[in-house]
């Protein structure tokens, strides 16, 4: 069962698709989010968001900071700026 990932910058919705796992650069260190994760709101530090589909990383995006909202079925990343790696 995948988790719906959304990455949004102030200027536009950059990405919205289901992934198997996503690793986000939380303020306390990298955090892997699988489906059925407990609801959380975390602060992001500068780092790379990695999208896992199957066992492979299918996409990496660098963010300069922001916030992420995690619910059991959904991950929403509000990034300040996003650049593809």
């Amino acid at each position: 069962m995948p988790v719906d990932l959304e990455i949004v910058s102030p200027e536009k919705l950059l990405l919205s698709r289901p992934v198997d796992m996503v690793v986000i650069p939380a303020a306390e260190g990298e955090m892997g989010v699988l489906p059925q994760h407990a609801p959380m709101i975390v602060l992001l530090q500068e780092g790379v968001i990695r999208l896992y589909e199957g066992n492979r990383v299918t996409e990496s995006l660098r963010v300069s900071g922001g916030f992420a909202e995690v619910t059991p079925t959904r991950v929403t990343v509000l990034a300040d700026t996003v650049t593809p790696v």
């Binding site: 949004v8 536009k12 303020a27 609801p39 959380m40 530090q45 916030f67």
Partner: protein
Amino acid sequence: MATLKDLRVRITSVKSTQKITSAMKMVAASKLRRAQTQAEAARPYAQRMERMLASLGASVAGSPTAPKLLAGTGGDKVHLLVPVTGERGLAGAFNSNVGRLTRNLARKLESEGKTVKILAVGRKGRDYLRREIGSRLIGDISFAGKKTIGFAEAQEIAARITQLLDDGAFDVCTVVYNRFQSVISQIPTEMRLIPAPLPAEGSASAGGAIYEYEAGDPDEPDQEVILAKLLPQNLAIQIYRALLENSAGFYGAQMTSMDNATRNAGDMIKRLTLNYNRARQANITKELIEIISGAEAV
């Protein structure tokens, strides 16, 4: 009575004016489309931010340590008005509507014994307010010469406002802008920024989930750390929205007013052409009479 030549000259001049206004209308229409797309693209971020803010704000609201951006200074004495207008004119009453609303708001607040300060965004509003109530103007921000308005510009304004708040220069901040209702209708609206009106928790679609918070600072409660970051961002987002609606509305207003101008020019050309033909006919008739009466006299 205008001579034939005068009329011809006027018709040509009205025709070239019509060409200009119809070109401006087309340009405004294409810029409007771009501005609308930009405004739509910005919406998802604002919606999601609102959702997060609703769940966070509720847990901090009322606490004495609530940040100033959320709770305000506690006072209600000094009001900062931020009118957002366009950089250019030829858009009907678009800019002066915001100017007038700001002026009336300022008068009303002052009659209630409050102090008003104005930070004007956009050249047209600044000029208008300088004429009307110049002494309240404490600064202005203008994006003249910038092609597109990005989030960076909104952040610049937000930083100015936050700076003023930290200096204790005002208690309540309200932005006045043209809300984009449709292409032909923009409604001058006031929106309070500080203290931030919190979206009701019930409106959040979080489904009542209880969140854990994590901000990586062991010395302070995580909620407050996140909120302290979220609020300035939210301020910038609100301003960004006002800027985008303003620019979409501006092109909408410009399009409608240029459409009217083109139509007016068309009517005028029709009237002038009628006059021109009448004058021409009158001339011909007069000449004929002269020839005939000349021939009869012989």
